[in-house]
Amino acid sequence: MSITERELRDYFTGRFESFNQGLNGNQSLEIKELRQKAIGAFAKQGFPLTKNEEYKYTPLTKALLKSLKLDAPVNSETIPTCKQHLIPELEGHMLVYLNGKLAYRSEDLPEGLEIEQLDRLDQTQISELKNHLATLSNYQSDAFAALNTAFFQSGSLIKIAANITIDKPIIIYHFSDGQSGTIYTQTRHLIMVGKNSRATLVEVNKNLNPEHQTFYNVASEVFLEEDTQLHYYKTQTECSGSIIVDNTNINQKDRSHLYCTTVTTSGTIIRNNLNVTINGEYCESYINGLYLVNGKDHIDNHTTVDHRIANSYSNELYKGIIDDAATGVFNGKIFVQPDAQKTNAFQSNKNLLLSDKASMNTKPQLEIWADDVKCSHGATTGQIDGEQVFYLRSRGLDEQQAKGLLLYAFATELLDRISLPVLKDYLKESISDRLYSCES
């Protein structure tokens, strides 16, 4: 039986007081106040309905109301051996969250890398984070970010010192395997890359129990200091049955380089809000996304690149292959503020629809207030090129193989940019079976 938006909202606001009281001894005043503000913002906004411009094409709330059960236990139904769900051979400093709780973490971190549990920080540590924690978060404007900020119970503080290269990737797994209707909100990460340092971060989201619908609401804030380099990968490849909202906010200072790639191949509804603020000169941001969706899955990527300072460069490429009755949404905002002269900002969104019922809503949104800039955007939605298919078939390849080859080529343009060979191969392999068996 479905619930109403009001009931769902009340469920959260009603629980807040006792939740916040319960944490009392363990949290600082700052955090307590932050949570108060966030729940206020949430109560005011409520869950976004499709009349909300930002959620116009993504009936997220409707899906939540249909699938959530407010009394579903959060505990594991199966006792999973998380190990078998890790990406094979991908070595790194691992954090494994199961149903929103930390289940495993690597010991022996290298010099310069500090990982703390965000919910276990003491008063002094929190005070030190005053200028960072929740300062990038969009909780005033996004109900899910607000919900996460009010209720976050787990998550990590990942702090990389200055002048250091962390060789192995930091890998965060988000697994869920609970009963249908379970709500795992509220995992939150704060990532700080110190001056002149380099790191690679991988976030992997998987629903281990795909028949079961779960809601996962994660938020991250990422601070790139001067002269940093961050490779940031997000994979949502085994998320059937999941409703995921990911709010990621990244702040870049002078000469920092960001390489961010999000790969999605399944999910009941996935909404990624990726907001990059370029707060420095000579920054570079490469923001890529690949989504391959089928069945009735729905993937929505909302990105914002906000150029606030002069002389920086951003390049965004999102590509999608949408099959069956699946839906894709892409909204790409680029802001070039008055001070951001000599900005170069590019955006491209390319989609292939494989069936009549597949749909794609794409909306580039450029707002430019500086005059000396180079900006461009382009969006295409089409079918596989019949001429290309014919050419390949005329050499003896069958139709499915020809289309598979073309789809694979379309998709791997993005995967080839991934700098971690193990991850790249894993993703390529995981999409190839599927693309070579597309029926259309």
Partner: protein, 252 residues
């Protein structure tokens, strides 16, 4: 090998081929000439199985089988090869992977085992030498960013690797300089044997100085209006297509 009988085809309601009759035997080289727009590429495309054309009448038998009944890939596996007038660019698809897939599909069709990587590489090297194509072209995506001449040469290279029974070269000579022309012709002549046949579609007689045809046909307004030996090509070169046109009017 190939018997075309009264073939009629149209595209978007417009009739292009108006009753083609042609017979090609193993070991022969035929040239099809004709002015622009006369239907040469249409004929080549219909034979290769491009599905944008409607065949309204006629039949085509290839090695004793009904060609028009086959999918494009089946035609290729049976030994038909079309060198495209405008080869398609396919970014992201590696030339060698694609060719290896094609070779193995054809081998599978013939009941042969898949070719292993080493043998395939050897084959590729040998054929590369034949058409003097550079390794660097093959390490790129299929035809992606190739010049006109490079694309044409790549078509002949593919032909050399796939060793078809019947190859149709659609204007492979256009856009080639004289050196490239000689290389292409040399490739075709080397591959020529008593079991295969070649159709050269062109509207210049230039290429025919290097590949000597057994028969020359003139395609005009969707029909073969004249057939002869290589002297016909020279006559066409000299007198132009107007001569055919007048002739056509006299006979019709």
């Amino acid at each position: 090998m190939l018997i075309i009988d009264n073939l009629k085809a149209s595209i978007e309601e417009k009739q292009i081929l108006k009753g083609i009759n042609l017979q090609i035997k193993a070991g022969e080289v035929h040239a099809i000439m004709g002015p622009n727009g006369s239907g040469k590429s249409t004929l080549a495309s219909v034979l290769a199985g491009r599905d944008s054309y409607d065949v309204s009448d006629g039949s085509v038998s290839f090695l004793g089988k009904d060609l028009l009944d086959m999918t494009p890939e089946l035609r290729a596996r049976e030994g038909l090869f079309l060198a495209f007038q405008y080869p398609i660019e396919i970014p992201g698809v590696s030339s060698t992977n694609f060719l290896k897939a094609a070779v193995n599909k054809i081998r599978e069709h013939r009941g042969q085992d898949a070719m292993d990587a080493v043998t395939f590489l050897k084959l590729i090297k040998e054929k590369m030498k034949l058409v003097e194509i550079d390794q660097s072209l093959l390490s790129r995506s299929l035809n992606d960013g190739f010049s006109g001449g490079e694309k044409k040469r790549n078509e002949i290279f593919q032909m050399a690797v796939l060793e078809p029974r019947l190859a149709i070269l659609d204007e492979t000579d256009s856009g080639l300089d004289i050196d490239a022309l000689r290389i292409v012709a040399n490739g075709v002549n080397t591959l020529r044997n008593k079991d295969n046949a070649t159709v050269i579609v062109t509207h210049y007689q230039r290429l025919l100085d290097y590949i000597i045809p057994d028969f020359v046909h003139v395609l005009y307004d969707g029909k073969i209006v004249k057939s002869g030996t290589k002297e016909l090509a020279l006559e066409l070169e000299e007198k132009g297509y107007d001569w055919i046109r007048e002739d056509e009017q006299v006979t019709s």
